[in-house]
Amino acid sequence: MLRLILSPEWFLGADIIIDFFSFLVLLTFAIISAKYYSLSKNKKLLYLGLSFFLVGLGELSKIIMNIGLYYDFTIAYNVGRMIITSHVVESIDAVYYIGFFLHRFLIMLGFYFLYYTTKKNKSKSEHLLVLYFIAISAIFTNDMQYLFNITVTIFLVFIFVNYLKIYRKTRAENTKTLATGFFLLLISYIVMSFSRIDSNIYITANLLQLASYIVFLYIIIKIYKHGKKK
């Protein structure tokens, strides 16, 4: 199977570092949520932590697959006999397929969880229905990356609007910053949808992703410092 690497050669690896940074920020949010859940037993904190953990795992899956794609071309070329080569290539393809499927599935599931964390009305049937559509989208967008990006953008639009509503209600500065972070992230997914056109678009999307996770990190630092001051 032909795999398209969207990153220009000089940017190879930089996108992995950005993804790794995103993963660390997501993991920090998940750990903080779990820690505060153990203190307060507020189940919403548990779901929040779970959603960040799922998105984080999705990012990790992408990181592992990209490392394989960028730095491990030798397996397919160095095998001597054709039959073995074919088997190896097929098994590598299967690993990539599963890896990128997990990336798409976990990210969509994580963002869906994040959206529903602050919602009151939840029904099991609704969850199952969305879960079904997420699985279908994750399976069938393997060769249509832009469709996955559009689906995530839709989730992020809902999340962004949700935090904007919360900000209007509470006027909490951190919520405004959080909404800004999600706005940057949703723009990065929109830009990423067009990344096949030009490699500069891919770089722009990655930089926007980096900016959004810097904003999220800033929130963590601000909360930590504020607590220390008191």
Partner: protein
Amino acid sequence: MAKRSKIDIIIDILNCINEKGKIKPTHLMYKSNLSHIQMKGYLSKLTEKGMIEEYSDKDKKLIGLTKRGASFLNEISRMKEFQETFGL
């Protein structure tokens, strides 16, 4: 008014002590809106956990925060801010 959870009551108690520095048990009881029995239970638990300690000043019994209690209160304030950020 919604019923306070155990953690909310503990936060109220620690906040009352923190505001005053050191406080008489009776004052603390009124300020944190608890009965005598409830108060006794919470104070013994918080002493056991090393978050508060008793002082005596001219036959008066006073309660103050320990370092552990103060750092717990900081952590709680961070938690509240975190929850507020996400609208939880």
